[in-house]
Symmetry: C2
Subunit: 345 residues, 2 copies
């Protein structure tokens, strides 16, 4: 006799038998209780509890051609910026039928493409991807995907489907304007792991310096190394070696800014008097450091939350009033750019 054994755990028919109903009634009772009479629903729930029944999600996905999986692709698992957004996504999805399928592209476009392909292969309910700089192939895959797609962290005027983020260019520009206004003269840029978002921040920053008459290409220092606190220290040391008259830096992100602060302290350079420092993202530590560090605050948690809310709305059949949500940013001005003799105009 040809028999397969299954996983051994109770199935929907075990529940049905025990409750004295058909399997489809159990199925309905679990997915949409309103479709089943109180009487049977109670019996079914009893049976479920007795048997410790858990629906088999793969079977359900196969039969319904809906997976209740939301694919999320981020470029880093260790970067706090994405961690906050991820946390929001998980929080927002905690109650409810959806499960997260998380992928780490490690800032490699080809890896992202591979992940998108794999995830789409599972017929996800929705996709969330970081950034707006997908390869053409990835874009095409996502455009043809039959599910809502949200690009997060960044915005552009050409969404695949929906977007939640803020303008990195404007964020960079705000940093530049701030340093110019504070009266700093020889203003540099420290950039690690120059991904597309960092590039746009740098471009915005440059533009601000240009309009302020403070742009000096020699002071723009970038590397493809991944960002870290120690790297911030090394880069500012290096930059100061070539250009000892440097008097302010905008750092790619907060780790670098903290590193730059330590680098200055090590070299006996006073912050903010001899060196202004501004970071990006405003991680929690920025307010707690001594001196406290100026940064551009971004609301990563809110980004994740709104992305999920948009997805839920679309899956519920609603049409979102806006496809692009710009959450903006906010300059947090702290001690690290508070020159006593500020030349604010």
């Amino acid at each position: 006799m040809r028999k397969r054994k299954g996983a051994g755990r109770p199935t929907i028919s075990d529940v049905a038998e025990r409750a004295g109903v058909s399997t489809i009634t159990v199925s309905r009772a679990l997915r949409d209780p309103s479709k089943v009479s109180d009487h049977l629903r109670r019996k079914i729930n009893d049976a479920v509890r007795k048997l410790n029944y858990v629906p088999h999600s793969h079977a359900s996905a196969l039969a319904s051609t809906r997976s209740n999986v939301i694919g999320v692709i981020v470029p880093s698992l260790t970067n706090n910026v994405f961690a906050d957004t991820l946390r929001a996504i998980y929080d927002e999805l905690y109650q409810g039928p959806f499960q997260v399928q998380l992928g780490n592209s490690r800032y490699v476009a080809k890896d992202e493409e591979r992940l998108v392909r794999t995830f789409l292969g599972q017929g996800p309910s929705a996709m969330i991807v970081a950034g707006v700089d997908q390869t053409d192939a990835t874009r095409e895959l996502l455009e043809n995907a039959e599910c809502p797609v949200v690009q997060v962290m960044d915005i552009s005027d050409d969404p695949i489907d929906m977007m939640v983020g803020f303008s990195h260019f404007e964020g960079g520009r705000a940093a530049g304007v701030h340093l110019v206004q504070k009266g700093y003269k020889r203003i540099g840029f420290l950039g690690a792991r120059m991904d597309p978002r960092s590039h746009r921040r740098m471009e915005g920053f440059k533009e601000a310096l240009r309009s302020g008459g403070r742009y000096d290409p020699d002071l723009m220092m970038t590397t493809t190394d991944s960002s870290s606190v120690s790297l911030g220290g090394h880069l500012i040391e290096q930059l100061r070696k070539c250009r000892p008259d440097l008097d302010a830096v905008f750092c790619n992100n907060d780790d670098m800014a903290l590193g730059a602060l330590f680098g200055c302290q090590k070299a006996g350079i006073s912050v903010p008097d001899e060196m202004g420092i501004i970071g990006f993202n405003d991680l929690e530590m920025m307010a707690a450091s001594y001196p406290s560090l100026t940064s551009i605050r971004t609301d990563r948690y809110q980004i994740g939350k709104r992305a999920v809310q948009m997805i839920k709305a679309v899956l519920d059949g609603e049409t979102p009033e806006q496809k692009i949500i710009d959450l903006g940013f906010e300059l947090q001005c702290r001690e690290s750019t508070m020159r006593p003799k500020s030349k604010a105009r």
Copy 2:
């Protein structure tokens, strides 16, 4: 006529038809190419590429009663400690058939239980859970799970199945021994979010102080607030208010240690002369700060890597030579505990 439409994408029979073989041959060619002749394998691969075929993982999981999903449950998505371990898990699983199912228990035992229940409902290939302090119900679920289970980050002598981690008690003790050896006299503890692992670190620390004759219960300061840099600053300020003679602290983790450093700098207290500071985990920033911060280095990445390797081995039918892997830790002695007039014995 009764017809269902499916998801519209190519199925294994489309590939089979195009390649002129049966579906099972396609299935074999994809899962275990060695079982199919070169000739057919080539034709099948061509067809796969032409049709852009991606196997339907749910169908596969259902038919084979194996899901290729590895469930991972961590208490925090934003804590760097788990992020490193997670990254290792993803890296190690990147090539190969396995997919990660990630859950965030947010340090709530009941949430962990819920997640374990849900994950087991999908028939995972393996489970990785953080810590050794599961509820009885969670333990029972995992013990009865028909898959390998690895508890990570911590170790005990009573594993559910397998373990990779290190002794937090010993880590705490090492910190205590170090401060005593360095000649500090009034040694405190700053602990945020006192989860079970932090508790064990504190207990080890206390024991070291007791044997060194330096234990003072009034100097042990804990809170259930989640740890942060600013909290480290607040706590040390508070502790010093009550006990101005405090001359060293062991911090729960590195964020707190960094905060304590900033707190001291703000108050004009010199580190390490007037205050020794030691953290836990040795995040990257600890070496880069000024003064650099002493910490207990733990290899979170390795923990994740080894956990996955153990799982792979077991799934390949091997029997691991050891069920408990103690990866240990390493004291990184830096400036923050380098008293000039050290009274090392």
